[in-house]
């Protein structure tokens, strides 16, 4: 809403600067967006809250100003606009001889009209043109400018019809029929439906109620006689219609925020008076006013003790009563009970219960007076717990492995790195680029890898993924799980002047996974997949039990423009957290020296190392403190289909290990390995 400062001074006497006025409005809740300049004059551009239609007018904003600043004084014009705007012929019903108005829908609560005859609809006088321009509108003609001006002044949208084009001199307000059509003022044909409210004459639709008038009955330079409408329409109906038609007008802006039905006659009369001042034309036959069930306001009791408790600052009963009165409430004070009863003014449909009144009192008293206090009472143990805490620890562990964290969009298009099983689509995506919810973090990792050069990157992400199955209560079939994924390719170290880094390979990536497993205190399997993941290299992938891991499939690598030596893993964190926790247990640290024995065995390549390791551990038992594989060799000197493995064994016990005992322990392991097909070299 544009509020020209020079215009404001016709209504309020104040010596505040434009900035001070803007700050004051901001502190009432009507935020100053900016001070703009029109015709070289300062104009406040004010943001109107969605529940405060009354603020979209000069009168409404002046009321806020006067409530907030007791030193400002209303001019006689504003006083008159506040109190009504009676004209001598208000009681006349003669207009009904010239026009018939009927309301056939509950979504119109009031319809008022006046008839003017013998008008010359020329240019507006300069003061009106200036006012309309300052209010952000383009001057068009006297009748149009005047309807606009009175709307901005009072908040009541008006519409002027060319009386001579009104068939049957009739107005009917009703719901549109399915498939009805009309042409609006902007010369666009509109398809209507039964949810929309229409203004009709005897034969046809002449306006979309509360949104825009029709072309057929538009006032023009040749208009001589004019029927002026001021009506009150249901805010939700107007919003719905406005949305369906994609039409946003100053009228619909106000109606969808609520327009005071009690202000209908005031606006018509203000228009009539101004028209008479400018042209001498008087309205004919008074006001036609159809108002089937006048609005009633209920009384709300306000307890001042509760007011002070909720606001957290002292406010006296007198202050509370004064503030509400200034805002137009009818107030009765009960000193004994320290309470009051207030009836909200007709222009405030947002006041329905005690706490609404408390907000009004707080707003006027000033939120700057609220002191800061910390809550007392029971304090729970704050912060993350359970899985959330575990997730935080796991994220820290991922960072320690050298992976860089990314956070990326969950709304995406389809890519070859989506997990099998399909994506959940948005019903009305804003763009094909974000039409689906991701079901895997791999595609965003790939995208980020490419953004960062496509090679020598190590990235991870933790976030939600969405699968079109299962889902929690009420949300079926929209499954949502927390996921952790990483992508590793190229040099593991940052480029440096002294080469020492390694190119990532599958086992470097596996090492990252294993170290995450240690931090998570959860186990990971590296099983041969029952169903292959099509995103991964078919013979270089593992089923983690709670996820997948492997080298990227060469075809996918090529499609995504990633190196073939790219390694990916993704873990379902909800499943992993729920799996059995591995809690560390204590073992005594023996102080006797350890004994190391290295063995080298020849094994058929078909024997998985895991099998050998199981044999080593179960045979070594408590004596085997640690073991590690320190060489894998295939090639010259090793028979085809075999590989040579070198394994270090470290034995220790509570007591000295003799060489003989060491050899025995080693030999037992060698014998166990032999059962798996391994031959000592």
């Amino acid at each position: 809403m544009k509020l020209p400062v020079s215009l404001l001074k016709d209504y309020v006497v104040t010596d505040m600067s434009p900035q001070e006025l803007g700050d004051l409005f901001t502190m009432t809740g009507f935020e100053l967006e900016e001070i703009i300049e029109i015709r070289g004059e300062p104009v406040l551009d004010i943001n109107i809250m969605a529940n405060r239609g009354d603020g979209a007018s000069i009168v409404g904003l002046c009321r806020e100003l006067l409530a907030k600043d007791p030193t400002a004084v209303a001019t006689p014009l504003l006083e008159r606009l506040f109190s009504g705007y009676a004209l001598p012929d208000d009681e006349s019903r003669d207009i009904w001889e010239h026009a018939t108005i009927t309301i056939e829908t509950e979504e119109c609560s009031r319809f008022g009209a006046r008839l003017f005859r013998g008008i010359t609809n020329g240019e507006s006088p300069d003061w009106l043109k200036r006012a309309v321009e300052l209010l952000g509108q383009r001057p068009i003609s006297l009748l149009v400018d005047l309807t606009n001006f009175v709307m901005f002044e009072t908040g009541q949208p008006l519409h002027a019809y060319d009386y001579d084009h009104l068939h049957g001199h009739r107005i009917i307000v009703r719901q549109a029929k399915e498939g009805e059509k009309m042409q609006t003022l902007d010369e666009v044909g509109r398809d209507l439906d039964s949810s929309m409210m229409m203004i009709c004459d005897a034969d046809r639709t002449i306006g979309v109620a509360g949104v825009m008038g029709g072309l057929d009955t538009e006032v023009s330079a040749s208009t001589k006689n004019c029927l002026l409408e001021a009506a009150s329409f249901d805010k939700q109906s107007i919003r719905r219609t406005r949305k369906r038609l994609g039409l946003h007008t100053e009228a619909s802006y106000r109606f969808e925020r609520y327009v005071d039905p009690e202000g209908v006659v005031r606006a018509i009369n203000r228009f009539a008076e101004l028209l008479q001042e400018i042209t001498g034309v008087k309205s004919v036959g008074g006001v036609a006013d159809v108002y089937p069930s006048p609005r009633t306001a209920t009384s709300i009791r306000l307890d001042l003790k509760r007011t002070r408790t909720l606001l957290g600052m002292p406010v006296s009963l007198d202050e509370a009563a004064t503030y509400l009165t200034r805002l137009g409430f009818t107030v009765e004070v009960n000193q004994e009970e320290d309470s009051l009863t207030a009836r909200a003014p007709s222009w405030r449909d947002d006041i329905v219960r005690q706490d609404d009144l408390i907000e009004e009192i707080g707003r006027v008293h000033g939120y700057e007076k609220i002191p800061e206090a910390l809550p007392i009472g029971s304090t729970p143990l704050g912060g993350p717990h359970g899985q959330h805490l575990w997730t935080d620890q796991l994220r820290a562990a991922a960072l320690r492995t050298g992976l860089n964290q990314i956070i990326s969009h969950s709304l995406r298009k389809e890519t070859p790195l989506d997990a099998p099983g399909g994506l959940i689509p948005l019903r009305e995506p804003g763009s094909p680029e974000h039409a689906f919810l991701r079901n895997s973090l791999m595609s965003s990792l790939a995208e980020a890898a490419i953004r960062n050069g496509g090679d020598d990157v190590q990235l991870f992400e933790m976030g939600r993924v969405f699968v079109p199955k299962e889902g929690s209560e009420g949300l079926q079939p929209y499954g949502e799980t927390r996921s952790l994924a990483f992508l590793i390719t190229g040099d593991l170290d940052a480029p440096t002047w002294k080469k020492r880094g390694d190119e990532a390979d599958l086992f470097a990536a596996k090492g990252v996974l294993e170290s995450l497993g240690i931090a998570a205190r959860r186990s990971l399997r590296f099983d041969k997949p029952v169903t292959l993941d099509p995103r991964l290299h078919p013979t270089r992938q593992a089923d983690l039990g709670v996820g997948v891991f492997g080298q990227i499939h060469p075809e996918v690598a090529s499609a995504m423009d990633l190196p073939e030596m790219t390694f990916l893993a993704e873990i379902n964190l909800d499943a992993w957290y729920s799996s059995e926790a591995i809690e560390p247990t204590h073992a005594a640290l023996h102080r006797h020296p350890a004994l190391r024995r290295d063995i080298s065995v020849l094994v058929p390549s078909t024997v998985a190392y895991e099998k050998l390791e199981e044999a080593i551990c179960s045979t070594g038992g408590d004596l085997l403190e640690s073991h590690w594989l320190f060489d894998v060799y295939e090639g010259k000197g090793v028979p085809e289909g075999h590989r040579s493995l070198a394994i270090a064994l470290v034995f220790r016990k509570d007591g000295n290990f003799t060489d003989e005992e060491g050899n025995q322990a080693r030999d037992a392991i060698v014998a166990a390995l032999a059962e798996q097909g391994a031959i000592l070299r």
């Binding site: 907000e359 800061e372 206090a373 910390l374 009472g377 704050g382 990326s408 953004r451 939600r464 949300l475």
Partner: protein, 331 residues
Amino acid sequence: MDPIAELRQEAESAFSSAATTAELREAEIKYLGKNGLVTGLMKGIGALSAEERPAFGQRVNDARRHLTAAYESRYAALRQGELALQFEQDRLDMTLPGHPPRVGIEHILQQTTNEIKRVLGSMGFVYEESPEVELFKYNFDALNYPPDHPAMDAQDTFYLRDDVVLRTQCTDLQGRIYEKVEPPLRFFTVGRTYRNEAVDRTHGHTFHQVDAFMIDEGISMAHLKGTLGAFARAMFGDEVRVRFRPDFFPFVEPGVDYAISSPKLFNGRWVELGGAGLIHPNILEQHGIDTDRFSGFAFGLGVERIPMMRYGIDDLRNFLENDLRFLRRYA
């Protein structure tokens, strides 16, 4: 010539002619070692008379002491020279860059989230999460949205179906908590929200929000202000002040927009941080909470807003693009 004096002279000359500490060590072993020549002199003591022996022994010991001192001083001199040479050879350009260890960069939004979690957690707010694909009822109905509120438009909200949306605010957690937890309570979340908006420097369809709320006996706007003040000071510095301005959100009454200011920040201007207020009594009643006994507050803010304010980041798109040049700057 006296054999002691002779040997002493010979040893002195060997020590002083040694050019390196290694040569000197050899000479030392030769003369002063366990089986060295000085020790060897003592073998001649047997040929002396009982009267002569003490004087002879004394002289050998004097010679040993003298030679040991001579050796040590020569050694120190040689060692010093050798070290000086070695240090000269060891010289490195200390300004060459170090090799960075393999440590990952934590995303700037994550760092901000961690800070928020630490601060609110320390104030007794329990961290909880809610789904991003959310039931319409938790996103709107449970939060006192009137039917047909503009925020429910498909132009504003992504729908999966009529009753399922991508949550537009993390406030959805409130209804979920009220169903499970009786007051008094304090909770917060940090999560991802979605709005159907065209993407530009200051708008995105995906962003992150903090939402915190508490319910207890006698909770007031002053407690809200105090909590926000403590939070804002923890995030932005000790001198930060909080200002409330009336605003409208369906789920709070009174509703405010809160701004912060500090002499050290934003040129002393008030900068809006988010929305807040007392939890709307309709919401408390809807969830069976006695509004005569309990009241509560809620506040929210955008996570992205914090680093944008701190560092002057002016393009929202930076956050989810994952350009390491951007992320590394705030590592």
